[in-house]
Symmetry: C2
Subunit: 789 residues, 2 copies
């Protein structure tokens, strides 16, 4: 439908006010891209006033500013609680301009005042060394969204809206961004949004027609196909189109009124009338020229309304007088003298166009989620402990135990905790959570469906992008959550993790941004137990990816059993501003530590397991391990050694927190050389069985003294559909091979132990034969337990 | 529209034939999941005939088999050239069953014959140690698609269809997969498919209603929303729905006839009548029960038609006699005695249901692309060389030079080479390609558009997923290409790269799969030159990700200048079965090597640059570098050292192929210890300036003797919008810091060079001050060149 009204929505005065405010934002945007000095053009513009390097993106900016000005009217008139998500985040100057016009910028950055000097600084700092990024970023007040990598605007918007029933999240989606996969999938998020307990998302698809050098798909399909597409996504599109400002202002005002009316009606129907089912939510399609109000033509080529306006329409302003004159004309076309008073401040009458206080989108606390963050009400995790009378004798499914804890976390925090996963919550054995909640589902429900409800706290969709993006949006607005995922497929969100980690690192340097809850991953169905799925599901490399991020913001935990997993999970749920990666198995596996031991072990991050070691003095060899399966194989190897080579002094070390392996200079969790040496010795062989790609352990530990004696076994990208023990054998991580490694590495042992070594070779062959013949592992191997001698 | 016909499409005989064939495929599928022995149930079924570990996915399989059987009819009747892409790839047993029924399986795997013993082996090997994966994979004849990670079926289908005008790519999309981002974006690929020169893609959206434990979004929206969505994507959906086999057979036959008729009509109109514009392509929506024809109920719970049929509907067949009886009943419901003769071979009359020879989808050469691969007709890359009279004196934009070469590659190979990129081809300075071709674009074209045409060879869409997926599909069907991408955002396809690398590794062990062209990445707009974009665009970690893959299939090149880039690119375009990652800058940068020198250098992969070294004997220090910016800074540091510490013997080593740094035991390109030592010495400090995260160099080199003396500088995740030199200073990779590193590391030098060290500290401060003040780098630094002394 097209926005139309019989009488104009905006009075002349209101139209003038909005248009003036838009001009002011556009003026400040162009100023940021171009000007070093002379911010209000009170002197004739000369080349020296212009930045030597012109870095920024104009094309999308006037559209962003237009939407912002119109949302301000809605907020003022309706006292609405609105935040603004900027999909085309390279339009950073526009959002900075608006935060400045609202006064928020000067409140947050006190050095940049609302006067001519402040304007000069505002302009100069943009994309300038030591200044601010050219994109919408953590540094931008009012943003929860780094706009550099496109695709995540809409999914962030939904994450922000969940459990915020009074919030409207206005989300501008660029037509370039709309071509990305994550954005294309995000539209269907409305099947997971409950109109009763969640807020509203108002997508604004901005069709300015072009991306960097190309037209966009959605701008070049017939209108009826576009409308059908959006209806198919579950929206009722309201179209606004034009290139005459006054006309577009009226249309857009009408469209926003309609959209907010519809949102109010939907929420009223759902909340007061108890109307069930999924409503068609309104959205806006805005067709305006790219680079609108900028130079029409430059050097004889059309710029406004084309891809040429994407970055800086005039590129030679320092050297080409014609370009400089055009810049001057462009800036003056906004009539700055009408917008700013003699001190350089926005004229009083224009200030009325913006809301005040926390209603300003740049100062809305939802966009600085740490301000709203309330601690989780956590049950005592030790209440969920499994009883361990003896190490490595009984078994539990670690994630199933964790599920009971999460069940009660959900119970106690019905408004601020969500569990995300790509349809794997039950598969990952967290099904206890369904004793206290359901899966969020706003689409049709049929008999026989399992735990679906509009207000479910578990969010399952077959898209890691949506799980990650929803959770990011939810955390950035001050809530808590956990993303459970198959280990291999979390690589799908590698790039999203990058951006979130950068955001956390940047925001930790901004005193006005309050810490938010950590992004917690539970990676299960991991590389060693993909019996069903084989090679495509086997990849432990996410840890390596995470380890490349700033050490200030990343933590990686490999709890070896159920009690350590509980302890680690409790710690992660209490932490702030981190990315926590927990890797834990879901299959029945041995328990090693009592709850008290688990807490002590996880607090240290790693430790010597005396009960599994022979002798407590300086050992002959260290068997180190990190991860549940490597721990199992290491202990089984230690078991063979203590029986067969009882004189060999073996020390077993388990590592939960692999960042501990680094020097303290490299990571806050790192160990001093003295600490490291006291555990790993300075000169004894260390056979390290590791969950993932072996070189990560080398990388973490290479600066420590004993690095030359470190021999790491891990995943060598050898995988297929096979049995658990066959998998470890394929990668030389099995108990028999670890014993062989010990024999090969301990000086003087190989002759003494030649017979044992051959036995190990034979044992591997026999195990493989058994597996090939029976289709399962030899029970003597898979049923191994540690017995007191 | 719903498929209906006044007279039934299928005669009774044809219906019986198709249904029998479907039953045979279903029987073989269930047999693979369950049976170790007694493959034709000629003895009473007992527990020992059943596999001890039941691994596989039944739910999607009957639908895959149904579609396969109906496509066979179309191929027979129309002599169509069709390949089958299996989105729900965990339905592996179905595709294996069909390849076996067609005889292809026994041709390829001669040990598995078309008799009872062959059936026994076929069943036993499935998901069995030493056998075949449970998913559709490289091992599956007829597949170009590993079905483990969902999301890429449709984009692979389009990649396969490009430049294959006579091919129809039937692509089954599961409704679970349809929730993923990459799949959601892929629908719009029809805006890039030219009906004149490309083949057709026939999407078949299989709505069986459930994913692992949840319903699916597209199955639970109203039919009118789904139809609108698909029309909005540019398709004309034909719906088939039901749970009565005979009825569904008739509907589906009618639907396929309609779809193939429409495809033929579209192609005729475009090719013969020259009808312009983008047609609405047909597609099929197939609604049938999940786990159709399997057990209705198990243990009192509904299974057929629910998520419970996703994997193995009967899980206790070894221990629960009721389950075993149900399995027996289930298998016998397909009436195997009617399907297979006494020798165990498919009955002769049923063989008529399948096409023959290369028309069999399991034997179609397009699905074994190496069979069709023709070498590129490559121009002589040395013709494009830049002239280098003197090293490090003149400049070129390396990618712009490469663009001229690629222009002629495209010219000479109009049917088998495509260049993919997310709207960055011009930004990445490859614009010369537009002298010989356009951007592929089948949507609306408006005046002022830049080089758009239906038959363009450059494919630009703002989705790295689509670029990667199209190229994968194109390569897997025997063609060539290059993906140019911003370095940071190639992480978006980390997970796709994983699956492609696994495919290459697996297929290299299958003698019947012929090698395909390598997947070539050109990563430009790299971490060090993101002046416009800042932190969000700065991430060199893709190299680390690639380095975790099997060494047999990955190569990484960092050519330092234009001529080395040409040499590397030529090499990569000729290579087979690799993933080649090329990182190269697009900005003006110094040229170091003549073409002859570049060829020699790239052939060795790394080498000592004598012209930049002082003395040719054993040096006091090695300055190593990899990447264009590190090379620049290293040479500038060497320049300072030769002037200021002329007695210090400095060796400059440049590395193009970083896999060379590994031991030869670890990678085919690795160096022996002797080779490594002869370049890097055994005991002298090596200051290594590296393009990416520094620890990768440690990881690659840690087994070599001189590792303890290796000091690596690289990207430390310190970035923002700033000048190029400020970026290297932020990360201590700048020339001044490298000189400081030399002074700190060379024994006895620090006292001699204390003054110079302080000068370097001061130079860094001065450079930073200059940048902060002027907004650009000091020209004395940015304009540095190497002068003959």
């Amino acid at each position: 439908m097209t926005a139309q009204a019989l009488t104009p929505t905006l009075s002349d005065a209101e139209l003038t006010l909005i248009d003036s405010y838009w001009r002011a934002a556009n003026y400040l945007s162009v100023g940021q891209i171009y000007l070093l000095d002379n911010p209000l053009l009170r002197e004739p513009l000369v080349a020296e006033h212009v930045k030597p390097r012109l870095l920024g993106h104009w094309g999308t900016t006037p559209g962003l500013n237009l939407i912002y000005a119109h949302l301000n009217r809605i907020i003022r008139e309706r006292d609405s609680d609105v935040i603004y998500i900027t999909g085309p985040g390279h339009g950073g100057p526009g959002l900075v301009a608006n935060a400045y016009l609202e006064g928020t910028y000067s409140e947050v950055y006190t050095g940049i005042g609302e006067d001519t000097d402040g304007l000069r600084k505002l302009f100069r700092q943009f994309s300038f060394p030591g200044g601010i990024p050219s994109h919408v970023a953590a540094e931008t007040p009012g943003s929860i969204h780094e706009g550099g990598e496109l695709g995540y605007a809409l999914v962030h918007a939904y994450g922000a809206a969940f459990d915020n029933p009074d919030l409207v999240v206005a989300c501008v989606i660029g037509d370039g961004e709309a071509e990305t996969g994550p954005l294309a999938a995000s539209w269907h998020s409305n099947k997971f949004l409950n109109p009763v307990t969640d807020g509203a998302v108002l997508p604004i698809l901005h069709l300015n027609g072009y991306k960097i050098a190309n037209p966009t798909v959605l701008a070049r399909i017939p209108a009826e196909e576009l409308d059908a597409l959006l209806y198919g996504y579950g929206y009722r599109p309201i179209t606004v189109a034009g290139d005459d400002p006054a006309n577009v202002h009226q249309q857009l005002a009408t469209a926003f009124d309609e959209a907010f009316d519809q949102i109010a009606a939907i929420q009223r129907a759902a909340r007061l009338d108890g109307e069930p089912g999924r409503p068609l939510w309104p959205m806006i399609v805005l067709r305006t020229p790219k680079g609108w109000t900028g130079p029409r033509e430059v050097d004889g080529k059309q710029v406004e309304g084309t891809w040429r306006s994407h970055q800086v329409p005039l590129s030679e302003t320092r050297t080409n007088p014609a370009h400089l004159a055009q810049l001057d004309e462009w800036l003056r076309s906004y009539r700055p003298e009408e917008l700013f008073d003699e001190t350089g401040a926005l004229r009083e009458e224009l200030r009325a166009a913006a809301p005040t206080g926390e209603r300003r989108m740049s100062a809305n606390p939802h966009a600085n989620g740490g301000l709203l963050l309330r601690d989780l009400d956590l049950p005592d995790f030790t209440d969920y402990a499994v009883t361990v009378d003896q190490p490595a004798a009984g078994t539990a499914e670690a994630t199933r135990v964790l599920g009971t804890f999460l069940r009660d976390v959900i119970n106690r925090n019905p408004d601020r905790f969500r569990l995300m996963g790509p349809d794997e919550t039950a598969s990952n054995r967290l099904a206890s959570v369904f004793e206290s909640t359901d899966r969020a589902w706003q689409a049709e429900i049929e008999p026989g469906d399992d735990h679906l409800a509009p207000d479910g706290r578990v969010m399952e969709v077959l898209s890691e992008h949506l799980c990650q993006g929803w959770l990011e949006g939810y955390l950035l607005t001050g809530r808590h959550g956990l993303f459970n995922c198959y280990e291999a497929f979390v690589h799908i969100v590698d790039s999203m993790l990058n951006q979130h980690a950068k955001w956390l690192f940047s925001s930790s340097h901004l005193p006005w941004r309050r810490p938010i809850a950590s992004l917690n991953y539970l990676l299960t169905s991991h590389v060693w137990r993909q019996d069903h799925n084989g090679a495509s599901h086997q990849d432990p490399g996410f840890i390596d990816h995470v380890a490349n991020k700033r050490p200030e913001v990343v933590r990686v935990y490999l709890p070896p059993d159920a009690n350590t997993l509980l302890s680690v999970a409790d710690h992660c749920l209490r932490s702030r501003n981190y990315v926590n990666v927990i890797v834990a198995g879901k299959q029945p596996a041995l328990n090693y530590l009592t709850m008290d031991e688990a807490i002590a072990h996880c607090t240290r991050g790693l430790g010597i397991w005396e009960w599994a070691s022979t002798g407590s003095d300086e050992p002959d060899v260290v068997l180190a391990c990190a991860g549940d399966i490597p721990t199992l194989e290491t202990l089984a190897a230690a078991d063979i050694l203590r029986h067969r080579l009882p004189d060999l002094l073996v020390r077993v070390v388990n590592v939960v927190d692999i960042m501990r392996l680094q020097p303290e200079s490299e990571h806050p969790h790192g160990m001093s050389d003295r600490e490291f040496d006291s555990v790993f010795t300075t000169d004894k062989p260390v056979i390290f069985a590791y969950h993932g790609y072996p070189w990560l352990i080398h990388r973490l530990a290479y600066r420590h003294a004993n690095h030359d004696q470190l021999h790491v076994r891990g995943f060598k990208e050898r995988g297929t559909t096979t049995t658990p023990f066959d998998m470890v054998m394929l990668n030389d991580l099995d108990r028999f091979h670890l014993v062989m490694d010990v024999i090969d590495r301990v000086d003087g042992l190989s002759s003494r132990a030649a017979g044992l070594r051959q036995e190990m070779v034979d044992a591997r062959l026999a195990a493989r034969r058994y597996t090939r013949e029976h289709g399962e592992d030899d029970p003597a191997i898979s049923g191994w337990t540690w017995e007191r001698m």
